[in-house]
Amino acid sequence: MEILIQISETIDCSSLYEELKHPQSGGICVFIGVVRNHSQGQKVESLFFEAYEAMAKSEMKKIAEKAGQKWDMQKVVLKHAIGTKNPTEPVVAVGASSSHRDACFEACRFLIDTLKKQVPIWKKEFFKDKSVWVTPHP
């Protein structure tokens, strides 16, 4: 299984098809996480993402490898953006290609859910008059 991991200022979602296509794959599934303009009833102006980059890449690779043990896939992609992002901009993209669609659908869900739980990346929300680090409750 091929793995592509990327942390960068901008993530290119238009390249995902080319990155995930494979002669043995009959299906490609992709999830893209995007900045929304509201949080808990307040208008969000922008988000700022910070990563502990070396560790984040290592954790993303572990997640991809774990997915590879659970599902039979040809390719897996995990990308995350850092820096300031405005509403509608993509901040995370995960994708998988597999011979049949069930594997890539299930793997995508696992990839994004696990990324959100264990990859050392942090989000700061900017509202009109304040900014806060998001610290999710268990």
Binding site: A54, V91, L115, I121, W122, K123, P136
Partner: protein, 77 residues
């Protein structure tokens, strides 16, 4: 010993790094030191420590050449 800080831990300490002069044997010692010096750490719902880019256990020992980082609750995605 230099500790890398991220997210809210940077705001709590007011710097990107924290330098600890006294010897700390393991991760549990580091957490006690932090909660003592910066009570706000005790208010976080979780605080993990990474040693050399890996999540560490409380009993993981700390050595002078290790890269140590505080990992507050993650919120990527």
């Amino acid at each position: 010993m230099n500790i890398l800080l991220f997210g809210i831990t940077k705001s709590i300490v007011g710097a990107k790094y924290l330098t600890v002069e006294q010897p700390l044997g393991n991760v549990a010692d580091l957490k006690s030191y932090l909660e003592n010096k910066y009570p706000a750490f005790g208010e976080l719902n979780a605080l993990a420590v990474a040693v050399n880019n890996q999540y560490a256990e409380d009993i993981t020992s700390l050595n002078p050449n290790d890269e140590i980082a505080l990992i507050p609750p993650v919120s990527g995605g």
